[in-house]
Amino acid sequence: MQIKICDILYTLEDKKESNQNLLSILFTIKHTTNRTLSFRSGCKSGVCGSCAVVVNGVEKLACKTIVKDNDTITPLKNLQVIKDLVVDIKNKNLSLQKSHAQLQSKSKEIISIEDVKKIDRESNCILCNSCVSACPVYYLNPNFIDPFALMRTYRYVNDVKENNIITKLAAVQDNGIWDCTLCGNCNMVCPSHIDIKGDIEQLRNKSAQFGYNNPNINIGFNTNLDFGFNPNNF
């Protein structure tokens, strides 16, 4: 079996390796063939978010991916490569701070089973950056708030413990929820199966309730295009 990692072809001779996950293979290669190979790892069980890479163009956690012949492994996209499969991830702190994805003002509401269920899946995010790598908007606009940060903002907006929704909604208006194309790439690659796109849509609905408009629609109406008769002066 052969796999390509960062443009270097590796031949895996041991038959046992054909059933192993990619992270184990990376360790084997590092121990035996190429000790300079660099990658991140942690829990080996899909919860620490360290080992996300791109396999044949699709974001995967290396620890949860069974390797196949001719697989091509590359680092996450949209983030600066430091070395081999290691990318710069300081975007995490920055975007979570920017989007105010924290409980800011604790309410005194009583929490029910349903309340917890509403934020259960969102609070399973492991910050692996797969959604960032798969995001076409982030590719075009590095100032776009990371999809996971938007999703996490919704997790707190949707949390009955939170009293301060307004600050959060204000934080995700620019380079945020309205810039998302709702392509759903983030959903496709999320290892925690979070409906990030749906959460961004929910944030839009919530924003509309609080008086925010989609600025992209306004841009359309504010251009010099002549729509003919316009009695209401839109």
Binding site: S45, V116, S123, Y156
Partner: protein, 538 residues
């Protein structure tokens, strides 16, 4: 003059982040330094829950204290256990108020599940992602509080004023660019995690739990304690050693042998269950976790993570299939000796979390008490480290330039030393040897044998170098530094295991089967002039 932080915390797991948040209340300039990235710590893997008595009409704090002491096998500390259990409800409230989404019951109170060794169901949980959700909530809150994070920096050494037995700072290697620098602080908290990673490839732990900070701390005069006590979790997946939480048994799962017979009460303390499983495996039997009778609905509601992990890593389904399991090194009860205020024997140096020994677990830890310990004493350490800064009015950093040069020279030498033995081969052998000889069953002959082997490997490290000569994200270098510390710390573990000539909790000697009165105490490890000393703290 170099910047001097108020409180420096080594480690960004549950203990470190709890400490950071509490320290922030009493001091200004808080920094969290870690060799990993935030939220990738071991805490993310704690699944099952966190113990607390929330309703004293049904359960009682004295029950919780009693269960914890019983599991600790007479060497738990009454004072720290009592503090932890009495404050458990407040700890849960603190987490809940920060935003941890604890699962609720029909009465809108926090839901509890049964765990091994507990006389009542008192393990509060958040589905079976409890550690993950706690860790991420703490991280979110730290960002809100503007805590500074310095990620992917490996601690090489402590900076200490030997004359006054006072900690001053740390020397770190920036993994990202290879630069070595010093960070100074008035108070330092070690929250770097445990050392089950010594059992390389035989542990449920993350790749980061290599324990180097404990060895470095020991070398500068810090006392360690109870290092022989290592918990082996009964249920990890056979090939990958991935943890299957105790919640699987707490919710009613069975352990069965290859004839599908149950052979032990699944909710006995972990050491007993693990030994029963290991004994059968040693005889050629296969042991399975059986949850088929629980039904898909209950499984998916109460342990979604287990369900996903097992499917992702084995393609088996809990509702239909038997899951083959084996015990693995999981948690280390020993660590840096601290008092009730989380202070070490070095001035201005504190420790909390799995790297610390608060003696709450004694010889064996109850499931659900580890998250409780790291949050409880993380907060204690943070508060005391923060308050401690008020006593420090002057701070000199000039005297320590030479130490930086020394550390830089040491690292430069690693780049040029011979590389005729691959240290990764020895690391794999170390893990195997420790599991087989310093594992669930121990005896003098085997312990002595592996002690000799490790001493030889330590001599051979001069022939083990690195292949990667770059400075950018050099994991070859990082792992080599970790490995050298792992060898030294393994000596501490084995020497402590040799010294305790009895069986107690997780430490089971087949040549000393009984618990003995003279060993009814903690063991203390210290190092003076490079001589390791293990003694009993009578």
């Amino acid at each position: 003059m170099e910047l001097v932080y108020d409180v420096l915390i080594i480690g960004n797991g549950g203990a470190g982040l709890s400490a950071a948040l509490e320290a922030k209340k009493y001091s200004d300039n808080i920094i969290v330094v870690s060799k990993t990235t935030p939220t990738s710590s071991q805490t993310s893997q704690a699944q099952g829950g966190i113990n607390a008595v929330l309703n004293s009409q049904i359960d009682s704090i004295s029950n919780h204290i009693g269960d914890t002491k019983k599991a600790a096998n007479q060497i738990g500390d009454n004072e720290t256990i009592t503090y932890m259990c009495e404050n458990a409800a407040d700890t849960i409230k603190w987490l809940d108020d920060l935003g941890v989404p604890f699962s609720r019951d029909e009465n809108n109170t926090i839901k509890k599940r049964n765990f091994g060794g507990a006389s009542f169901p008192r393990t509060c949980y958040s589905s079976d992602y409890t550690g993950l959700k706690i860790l991420h909530t703490l991280y979110d809150t730290c960002l809100k509080e503007n805590i500074t994070f310095i990620d992917e920096h490996l601690v090489l050494n402590f900076i200490k004023d030997n004359e006054n037995n006072t900690i001053k700072g740390i020397t770190v290697l920036n993994i990202l660019d290879g630069v070595i620098s010093q960070i100074f602080a008035k108070s330092i908290i070690i929250a770097s995690g445990g050392y089950a990673g010594l059992y390389h490839n035989y542990t449920t732990n993350s790749t980061a739990t290599t324990g180097e900070i404990l060895n470095i701390a020991l070398n500068i005069g810090c006392e360690l304690e109870n290092m022989e006590f290592v918990q082996f979790h009964p249920t990890s997946l056979k090939e990958s050693r991935i943890l299957i939480s105790e919640s699987a048994r707490g919710e009613g799962g069975y352990l069965i042998d290859q004839n599908e017979n149950r052979f032990i009460d699944e909710l006995k303390p972990r050491d007993e269950v693990s030994r029963a499983i290991y004994t059968k495996i040693e005889k050629g039997d296969k042991i399975y976790l059986d949850l088929r009778h629980l039904g898909i609905e209950k499984i998916k509601e109460s342990m979604p993570q287990e369900y996903n992990i097992i499917y992702d890593f084995t393609r088996l389904k809990l509702e239909n299939d038997l899951i083959e399991i084996t015990p693995s090194a999981h948690y280390t009860m020993g660590g840096i000796k601290v008092d009730i205020n989380s202070k070490t024997n070095i001035n201005n140096l504190f420790a909390c979390g799995e790297c610390a020994s608060n003696r709450v677990h004694g010889a064996n830890r109850l499931g659900g008490n580890s998250l409780l310990e790291i949050i409880t004493f993380g907060r204690v350490a943070g508060k005391n480290a923060g308050l401690n800064t008020h006593n420090i009015t002057s701070f000199n950093t000039k005297d320590y330039q030479l130490l930086l040069l020394e550390e830089q020279t040491k690292i430069s030498n690693i780049y040029t030393q011979p590389n005729t033995m691959n240290f990764q081969d020895i690391k794999i052998e170390l893990g195997k040897q420790l599991f087989n000889n310093v594992g669930l069953y121990r005896e003098e002959k085997k312990l002595q044998s592996i002690l000799g082997k490790i001493k030889k490997w330590i001599v051979s490290t001069k022939d083990m170098g690195i292949t990667d000569k770059s400075t950018i994200y050099n994991t070859d270098l990082k792992e080599y530094i970790e490995f050298k510390n792992m060898l030294d710390l393994s000596l501490v573990l084995i020497t402590s295991a040799l010294n305790r000539k009895e069986s107690r909790g997780a430490h089971y000697r087949i040549d000393h089967l009984e618990s003995k009165k003279e060993f009814e105490c903690s063991s203390k490890v210290s190092k003076l002039d490079n001589n390791l000393k293990v003694e009993l703290c009578k």
